[in-house]
């Protein structure tokens, strides 16, 4: 292999990753349009309430209660309120219903649904944190038009959604600060007491957050949960027993449920089902209804009870059980109004003609005729059986019209922006194919395929094609942009994808039909079949929803298979080799000697199997934590010199004491006040230690004015390697602070696993008949990807958004700072992938193949870090993501698109983004410090 290239491909990879991310973002914007309701002409839906029916005058019912209280408890799931946890609420409820909540099960979209009655967009989950747009029309807007007093206390998301709709508001300062279990809720209860004295309000909204925060930090089985529920029960009791409360309606519900781990955002029954308890004075208790309604049904029902118009966007049905206090005529009106509203919406959406031809239009006509005939007897108070039958008939018809239209409308809410999807997909696919081809044909990529260089002529050509595509797309209404600037910006991805596609097409043609038939283009990278097979299985199983839900099984299976396969193959080759020399005698002795030689990899396999049961080890977590910190320190000792190691050890002791003070491991018992004071000091000390390790590492790497001395010491060791090692060490120490107690053992195990796997790959490489350094690289890279992914799942991550652990984001924080919380949570969630990549780079730079008996290849081995390892890793990260984006387009009408496939696409794109950031920082170091390579 004389022609092996060692040009750094970091810049090229950087461009490709950037373009890929641009494509992915465009795709996501197109797939989840941020606000699809705006595109509809909502103005054409009549706003006012209907006042006539076939010529008869109708009167909208007046408000049936003087005051309404909406008591929202964040993350109140269906089985939380029970006789033992919330006795008063359970005992005195007039009506207990269960509501079905739509995904995404996070607060902001849920509040939108409750107030506007429309389903929310999936991407709202990303907007949940931080950005919130104001709502156009809702129950609160309608109340404000009527000058009704609306008061609010609790989660400040409400205030972002409705900045001017509340008469009085007492929002929490910091709703995202999850370590606040009690303070915010106390304030809400205080506001409640004040408001109960005032009596002037029509609607009082209370939003308690404590329960959700407890869930996030301590899980759904925490003893604090019952404590919290008791507190909520007391608040309900306070309202029910207050002397001023005469004619009121109290609604107790949750915005979304809570998954078993304590998080939310996913699609499990525990998350999508919440209770709705109703309380009013002298109610007649109905038998507990087991019927389930949708959360959006609450909006039209509340609108009728409040005697305001139904919000234009509402597509909910009515909840008949809640209307029992109205007279029959008023109930009839309510059913009529909602059906009428939905029919108008259907007319706007599907067109007059198709509505007239539909089934539900017939039912509607039928119901209105019956309704008209009933008006007279109902007003006279006629209770004859004939009118009863007519009444039931009309009610049923109205209800089924509403349900039918509601279902059709919620299905048709899904809208894709195919223009953006096409552009994004083209860019992402072209980029990943480009980088894959470039890496596979590394040695000939530049001169024969011309993939590396920027060709001006081709750029101009693609510019022309891009402009044409852009113009034609706009003319055919396939590309929709709101401003000139946006369409000009869109030109950039189009041109890039055209340019890359031309490159890819040319390269593919050249590979299929080489210019000189005698010399086919040879792959520069060896592709061993087992690796390829495992990688292909990992990619193609993305097409099945159950394989996505249980993705960890795929990774555990394939990862262990790969390690096992390589280990057994190496073992066999070693024995065969030794056997040839000894000519078949003492075979069992040779076999056992070789097996003993490879004992470590089998220990690693056993460790990997044990890690699966990590969550069961919580009973010995103190011991486990001490042991793993010790092991971790010993592992890190390889990268650190003595002073660094000392500070590193202190940092780990501080981590243990921090967990001890938080009560998670055994430690001296201190009074609470003292403990909380010490925690802060501990964390400050920890950061100091971390900074010291960092500074010490950099100081040895960047010697100033000692050049004379270092020349005497011998050749200067690579600064780059030292800097990267320091970065890796510091990042690992920080992760030890962020990780959950029983997860800390994963960190040393990860390092051991990677180390042993790399050794195995080297040993395997030397036993192959034709040794090639690149084969070793390929094995190491793919093994790293598999091991990283396995540890990612060992940690408790999954493809459901509810398993994201938010607690590490708030360590040492006293308020919500999106940047710090985001950084910590990302570092915690993706620690395995980040550190595996960094470790691979460091390992490649410091690797010494002499230990396995290969001397000549040492320089070219370390050189490969930026010419092969990083680019190939990037290509292997991007390719499945691009494939998955293509799958998403195919599955866009799949039943599970929003519950299973969409969270996964967010995870995938975020994985690429995290890799991008890590890659970026690493390549910066390469650019700045790589002189002596």
């Amino acid at each position: 292999m004389a022609m092996e290239e060692h040009k750094s491909r970091l810049v090229y990879t950087f461009y490709m990753l950037t373009l890929f991310l641009c494509g992915a973002v465009l795709f996501l914007i197109g797939f989840f349009p941020a606000s699809y309701s705006v595109a509809e002409q909502e103005s054409s839906v009549p706003i006012d309430r209907p006042t006539t029916l076939h010529g008869e005058k109708l009167e909208p019912p007046p408000s049936s209660y003087n005051s309404f209280i909406l008591l929202l408890i964040d993350a109140l799931r269906n089985d939380f309120p029970s006789e033992s946890t919330m006795p008063v609420s359970h005992e005195r409820a007039c009506l207990k219903l269960s509501l079905h909540v739509d995904i995404p099960t996070v607060t902001m979209p849920r509040l939108k649904s409750i107030t506007t009655g429309t389903l929310s967009n999936f991407i709202d989950i990303a907007l949940n944190v931080g950005h919130t747009e104001q709502v156009e029309d809702s129950l609160l807007h309608r109340l404000k038009q009527r000058d009704a007093v609306v008061s609010f206390a609790g989660d400040h998301t409400w205030v972002h959604l409705f900045p001017s709709e509340f008469t009085r508001k007492a929002e929490n300062n910091d709703s995202f600060y999850v370590n606040d279990f009690y303070e915010g809720d106390k304030n809400v209860t205080r506001t409640l007491e004040l408001e109960l004295e005032k009596e002037d309000w029509k609607l009082l909204i209370l939003h308690y957050l404590g329960l959700d925060h407890i869930g996030h930090v301590e899980g759904h089985a925490s003893p604090k949960i019952n404590h919290k529920l008791k507190e909520m029960d007391d608040a309900v009791k306070k309202i029910l027993d207050h002397k001023n409360m005469e004619n009121y309606l109290l609604l107790l519900t949750g915005d979304h449920g809570m998954a078993d781990g304590g998080g939310h955002g996913g699609n499990t029954p525990a998350e999508t089902s919440v209770p709705l308890y109703l309380y009013s004075k002298n109610c007649s208790k109905y038998a507990g209804s087991t019927k389930r309604y949708n959360q959006i049904d609450l909006t039209p029902t509340l609108a009728l009870l409040l005697s305001v118009e139904i919000p234009t966007m509402s597509i909910g049905c009515l909840i008949p059980e809640m209307l029992q206090t109205l007279t029959l005529e008023q109930q009839m009106y309510a059913y009529f109004y909602n059906a009428h509203h939905l029919l108008n919406k259907a007319r706007v959406k599907f067109g007059h003609e198709s509505v007239r031809r539909s089934d539900y239009f017939g039912w509607y006509q039928n119901a209105t005729l019956l309704h008209k005939n009933l008006l007279e007897p109902l007003r006279l108070g006629d209770g004859s059986s004939a009118s009863k039958v007519h009444y039931e008939n009309a009610k049923l018809n109205y209800l089924r019209v509403a349900r039918e239209i509601s279902e059709q409308l919620s299905e048709s809410l899904v809208k894709f922006d195919y223009g953006l999807i096409a552009v994004g997909l083209a860019l992402a696919t072209a980029t990943s194919l480009h980088i894959v081809l470039n890496i596979l044909f590394l040695d000939v990529a530049t001169e024969q395929l011309g993939l590396d260089i920027l060709k001006l002529g081709q750029l101009l050509l693609s510019l022309v094609i891009g402009i044409m595509l852009n113009v034609v797309g706009h003319m055919l209404d396939q590309l929709m942009t709101s401003s000139m600037l946006q369409s000009l910006l869109l030109l950039f991805p189009i041109v890039a994808s055209v340019y890359l596609s031309i490159d890819v097409a040319q390269a593919l043609i050249k590979i299929a039909l080489p210019p000189l038939y005698a010399r086919r283009l040879k792959l520069s990278i060896p592709l061993p079949l087992p690796l390829l097979l495992c990688y292909a299985i990992r990619t193609f199983t993305l097409g099945s929803s159950s394989f996505i839900e249980f993705e960890y099984k795929t990774w555990y299976y394939l990862g262990n298979t790969l390690i096992l396969l390589v280990a057994l193959k190496t073992l066999r080759r070693r024995i065969t080799k030794a056997n040839v020399e000894l000519d078949g005698r003492h075979l069992h002795k040779i076999a056992s000697a070789c097996l003993w030689q490879q004992r470590k990899i089998f220990v690693v396999l056993i460790l990997l199997t044990l890690m699966r049961y990590l969550h069961r080890l919580s009973s010995i977590k103190s011991t486990l934590m001490l042991f793993s910190l010790l092991l971790f320190w010993a592992r890190l000792r390889k990268f650190t010199d003595t002073p660094q190691a000392i500070f590193n050890g202190i940092a780990f002791m501080l981590v243990y004491s921090f967990r001890g003070l938080n009560g998670q491991v055994q430690f001296f018992v201190l009074p609470d006040q003292l403990a909380s004071r010490y925690v802060l000091a501990l964390l400050v000390l920890f950061w100091c230690c971390l900074a010291l390790v960092f500074v010490l590492g950099y100081r040895t790497a960047l010697p100033q004015q000692q050049s004379g001395q270092s020349l005497l010491d011998g050749p200067p060791k690579s600064n780059l390697l030292k800097l990267l090692q320091t970065n890796l060490t510091c990042s690992l120490i920080l992760t030890a602070l962020l990780y959950k107690v029983q997860n800390i053992v994963l960190l040393p195990t990860l390092l051991i696993t990677l180390d042993e796997t790399y050794k195995l790959c080297e040993a395997y490489g030397t036993t192959v008949r034709k040794f090639s350094v690149r084969l070793v690289h390929v094995y190491k890279i793919i093994m790293t990807i598999f091991v990283a992914r396995m540890f990612y799942f060992y940690q408790g991550n999954s493809n459901s958004l509810s398993t994201i652990d938010l607690t590490p984001g708030y360590i040492g924080q006293t308020s919500y700072n999106p940047v710090i919380v985001g950084f910590f949570v990302t570092l915690n969630t993706y620690s395995a992938e980040i550190h595996s990549f960094l470790y691979l780079i460091v390992h490649t730079l410091r690797a010494d193949l002499r230990s396995v008996g290969i001397i000549q290849s040492l320089p070219s081995y370390a050189k490969a870090a930026d010419s092969i390892v990083a680019p190939l890793y990037a290509a292997l990260v991007m390719l499945p993501a691009a494939f998955y984006l293509c799958l998403m387009v195919g599955f866009r009408y799949h039943l599970f698109i929003y519950s299973v496939f969409s969270p996964k696409v967010l995870y995938d794109c975020y994985t690429v983004l995290v890799f991008y950031l890590v890659f970026l920082s690493t390549s910066l170091y390469f650019k700045l410090f790589k002189r002596d390579a």
């Binding site: 099945s544 159950s546 839900e549 099984k553 795929t554 096992l564 024995i575 040839v580 396999l605 199997t609």
Partner: protein
């Protein structure tokens, strides 16, 4: 290499493959007869392991039967080997080797996701089946030491032609069985909720089907070679 239907080697190969396929057919019939597959993982209740055991034994007897013809032309080493077949040392070695192999397969099962603290019986049955499909035939044919040599040497010189034919076919059987059992796990994550998705059943069936496929492949190969010889003869 020429091969004709009437050649001893071809006959041996075809008989061998027929026995393998018949064994698996009997297993399938048995499973069909029992309807409920839940017992497949139990040691005492399932007949799969004994059926496969007898199938493999039959194949070895077949190889011995065809080997008789070669008896006259054996080398000294081959003769020695043959004479040592029933010595206690060889018998013990063979048993130990199979036992160790079963342990290795059980270890692999656990590494690849079998429950660590439960389902020991199922894991044992699966690894026993895997041993029977992969290692046992070779051990039955050559004894423990011989099997080790076959596994780790390029080509030991004590193997007769007939044994070589059988070993070649055992390889397909073993590879098919391993790949089948490995691929059988594909149904584990699926949410169909069928009772045959429980742990050892897909792997057991996968191993049987895999070895059947391996044998079918070998059979096709043999028939194809015969067909080619036949065609070329006809043409000339």
């Amino acid at each position: 290499m020429v091969s004709r239907f009437d050649q001893q080697k071809t006959k041996h190969q075809l008989f061998h493959v027929s026995i393998s396929l018949a064994t698996i057919l009997i297993c399938m019939t048995y499973m069909q007869y029992r309807r409920n597959w839940a017992h497949l993982g139990s040691f005492w209740d399932s007949l799969i392991v004994p059926i496969v055991f007898f199938g493999e034994l039959l194949k070895v007897i077949l190889a011995r039967f065809f080997g008789r013809i070669e008896d006259g032309v054996l080398t000294v080493k081959q003769r020695q080997k043959k004479a040592a077949y029933f010595t206690p040392r060889e018998l013990l070695g063979g048993l130990t080797l199979q036992f160790l192999c079963t342990l290795l397969y059980a270890f692999i099962c656990i590494i690849l996701g079998a429950p660590v603290l439960a389902n020991y019986e199922q894991t044992f049955v699966l690894s026993l089946l895997m041993t029977l499909l992969t290692v046992s035939p070779t051990v039955f044919l050559l004894g423990g030491g011989g099997a080790l040599q076959v596994c780790f040497c390029e080509k030991p010189d004590f193997i007769t032609k007939c044994e070589d034919t059988a070993l070649h076919l055992f390889k397909y059987n073993a590879l098919g069985g391993i790949l089948g059992a490995w691929a059988g796990s594909v149904v584990a994550p699926l949410d169909w909720g069928r009772d045959w998705q429980v742990y050892p059943i897909p792997n057991v069936i996968g191993a049987l089907l895999g070895s059947a496929l391996g044998n079918i492949y070998a059979c096709t190969h043999v028939l194809y070679m015969c067909g080619r010889v036949y065609m070329s003869k006809k043409r000339s």
